[in-house]
Symmetry: D2
């Protein structure tokens, strides 16, 4: 019944928030009741044009919106009153500050990967640990890089076991819309001291021995991961390909079809998806290889989109709406995941 | 009647070709009968998935497509036999080589701005000189930069007259999908010798005294034009704004709504258009100023999309389907031009 | 006599400060008595290795230097006590905050172009207004862009008169060493509202009617200026070239010698100068043209180095050591200006 | 005696050639007898200014040089007649084409890493296999990436043994002077199929089990290598640091001294070296770590300079002038290697 839909609020209609809002709107068992913005910019206007109810993320800025000719329905506090759950999509570290507000309002909350694990009861990845979020009040969807690593490693682990993972991550320095921060001509170890925090972050959702290293490079489109995985039993390349092909949240790309770099993967996605959002891991099929019993592969991760399906599944788990496979299937269908293969 | 639709072939399903194909498909008075590709890459697969009939642009490569599991309907020659008009969207200078083929097949042809003006009977911009293409067999739609300049100058000329234009153009060095060519960290006068060829190119479609200078910079998103226009009668800023607001193919963007750079304009377009295509000139409203009787303004041009509506209008002119205003109105409506303002 | 040398302190041994320190060290009539740093990083170590006396720019950070094994001679206050003049090379706007300290210490001071004109008694460019700084206590050397514009316009004005200047400036977004700020893939009007502040800034040193527009682009090497100059009497291209060739602080580069972009100019400078510093305006000779009586030309400006000779000349003016021509000659000789032409 | 100096010709005065020419000029036991260029551009002019004798790399282009006012001493054939050895610094794959000419002239030759191993009798790295080149006629100095890997791995192997190496290489896409090729906004697996050719290339100079993966990213300054090394006996971090500190061709950089990215390493080098050439491997000291008995570390490699000392040592080996340690010591001293530490 319509009135049984989970009432979802999105706090922070930015890069992640606007995608979560759209995704929630596409679900049959959820209802987007409003989104918040800190200022009346073009993203706020688009929210209104889409019919989303707009609230001021910072209560005393209501007037700023009014003056800009964009009336709001109220403040974040008003929005929380009506919500069953809030998806916190504020910038990193701000989510933790917001938590008190959510507790006070008595709403469940999902935090993003920019927050520390301690902000929530559990960290979440749909494939790897859906059940852990069932019935929980505070859940953290792990970051774009961690989500990308976890999906691929989960499939390998399920099929071949994993003794050890070594990952080098080549990160886009800022998102495409950013125009003040960045790295114009250089490569930045991020962090310099090794190993990086991404390994332990994967371990919040998947039990695997993993050591990670990360770098920032001057591009905005996608992260790229160079993976070395020592499996428990040595697979053939074909078996790995088969395992990946069964998982809709993983796509395989071939160089001989023109996918020579992240620029081509994005060009492909521009043809088929709003905002060229790629919710799936993009693995170069030709990169999958087995050398001395160890698996090597390269994947690209669209940092703006990859966590969106995970947020939707987390909502279902927290409200015990569906089990893992049913939830992922619904989410996939609504977002077009698994419909078109490159 | 359906059988009276103009049968359109697109030769070269790349950056421009795929957009022209989609745009033709959206018109009531045209029918896309096929597109050509030189190789069976992901762009070819997308064409097939969209239901477009695929032909080999190079006759002896039919087998290459077959081997890749992508069967073609025939070759460019087969396609031309069925066409009323071919839109040549091959890389610069190749169009001229193709012309003989088109003449032999007895089809009309539209060439893009990468070709010299001599390839066609007339150069074309819908606003500035629609009528000149009426009934013609060979028409050249001017380049992205020239189209962007012409639209803005046409509006200024119609409203206030133009004595002189000085334009500095800051060009994106390559399109987003390119991954071999470029300029990584530098600024390149293009050309070094002044003035640049863009001024004379504008004069193929608009009678105006214009001197241009151009530079390549390491970005892929949009060109930016810095314009100085000496009008015949001095306008007020508001009058200029009014004139632009009346033309759907020009959009006005404000810094206080968050449009601080081309990254934000593209971010906006990602929300509302397939492939974030912006068919309109993007003028910064706040940049429009009048100093000592001279107009200054800054505009951004989405090089991948700006010429698409012009190609559609050119087809209508060549087949005498509609007059300028009717054609532009139909084209605008089909592409969403004028529906959403930033 | 040695003890009559002007005792110069450099406050802020960063991008500008380290170059000023080196340049001062090369002068016969000046003595570098010390430089300040806010933290004990590699730049501080290089200063010490060069034999420069190091002082803590922030008094209570002396211990931070000690702990890093880099002992300082004292604080900025200790340094000012011994100085005749301090060259303030702190980040923009900080110079104004420092002024009180300089006044209290009774030392003359030079500020850089990041400060507002009001910080000093006069703004300074050696060619255009050396005499104005004679005997002054507080002088502001105008910014890299303004210095670059002023030199070229001064030469044109002296030789042909100037009625009007229109300049479009394409700015490197950050300096080469920066790795946190920037603009990765886009073009940013800077500012959006026209005209930009650079025009009025030129007018602080040269009496000329000028309107400017500026953009940031993702490169670190050099700024590029696209100039349109309406002279009082129309020159021939050769006469313009001759005028520029007589001024050592202007270099002419030709495309046919391989200078196709700023990358090649920097490559050239890497062969002949420490830190590839280019103290001269770099004008593309092939770009100089006269269209309808108006001059067009393109110049590149090495933002890290261009103001260094101006700082040296300003010191001489303030202490009445030499007249303009003698000072510029000494400065040029010490820095290698005019010795090698491309 | 002067007439016993090895007479060295440099064929191709470009990125590598000009650095080899300078380095040869600094040696007491070698004499640079001439360099070749294909065209009379600014690099040719700088060669002449430095006093290097200029020859036409392509015999029938002598006139092109004459017309540009740059007279040449003759052609490559004239130069080879006078040489004991030629250092081939032509673009990749051209060296192999040149070999016949060298054989015919009866001169020894060194090829660069862009050529296949088969072009020469042996591949060369001074530390790892100096002796192998002793007395040889055709030697290939391995590429920048391979040289960088080999030095670091040689030190680890000598001190702790190596069972296995896994390297992910993040490559600068083009050199700083390039302005036509590149990758503007993206990450490119290079190659897509794994493993990359760099592993086998290392094995041409060092016996080690190594698997490599490589990517191109939009930067020009340095390559960065992310290394995982499984040693035979587990070292402590301090022991690894000690081992590196003993080798002058390896430099250690610390984040807390400001070395946060390749931009800062280059900024440091701009202060101390012509063309900011870094002949040494740049290892981030803070990155050196041992996890589960495996070593992780990050190094940056200045692709333009790293092979220069190797070319000099190769000459000495081929003419049996000195043994490894003596040659490296001479080369190091002449180039300033080991004099300044960051």
């Amino acid at each position: 019944m319509v009135n049984e839909k989970v009432k979802v609020a999105v706090n922070g209609y930015g890069t992640i928030g606007k995608r979560v809002a759209d995704a929630v709107s596409l679900q049959g068992d959820m209802k987007l009741i409003g989104v918040t913005k800190t200022k009346p910019d073009f993203e706020a206007r688009i929210a209104v044009k889409k019919g989303y109810k707009l609230y001021a993320a910072i209560p005393d800025r209501v007037e700023v919106f009014e003056r800009a000719g964009l009336s709001v329905e109220g403040t974040i506090d008003d929005l929380l009153e009506k919500a069953d759950i809030v998806i916190d999509c504020s910038p990193g570290k701000i989510g933790a500050e917001n938590k008190q507000k959510y507790e006070k309002a008595g709403v469940k909350a999902i935090f993003q990967g920019g927050e520390k694990a301690e902000v929530a009861e559990v960290s979440f990845n749909a494939l790897a640990c859906y059940d852990r979020a069932v019935g929980k009040n505070y859940v953290r969807v792990v970051s774009c890089n961690t989500t990308g690593l976890t999906r691929t490693l989960y499939i390998i682990k399920e099929n071949f076991g994993i003794k050890k993972v070594r990952a080098t991550m080549i990160r886009r320095v800022v998102d495409p819309k950013e125009d003040k921060k960045g790295l114009v001509n250089g490569i930045m170890p991020n962090p310099v001291s090794l190993p990086s925090h991404h390994g332990p972050d994967v371990q919040t959702v998947l039990d695997v021995d993993i050591t990670t290293v990360a770098f920032k490079v001057p591009t905005t489109l996608m992260h790229v991961h160079s993976l070395n995985i020592v499996p428990e039993k040595e697979p053939k390349v074909d078996e790995i390909v088969d395992a990946f092909e069964k998982e809709p949240r993983i796509l395989l790309f071939s160089e001989n079809e023109g996918f020579t770099s992240t620029t081509k993967i994005i060009e492909w996605s521009r043809e088929i998806r709003t905002r060229y959002d790629i919710f799936e891991n993009c693995i170069w099929k030709d990169s999958i290889s087995v050398v001395d019993g160890e698996i090597y592969l390269t994947q690209a991760i669209h940092q703006e989109a990859i966590v969106i399906p995970e947020n939707i599944d987390a909502i279902r788990a927290m409200f015990e709406l569906k089990d893992r496979d049913e939830s992922m299937k619904l989410t996939n269908k609504s977002l077009g995941i698994g419909e078109i293969v490159p």
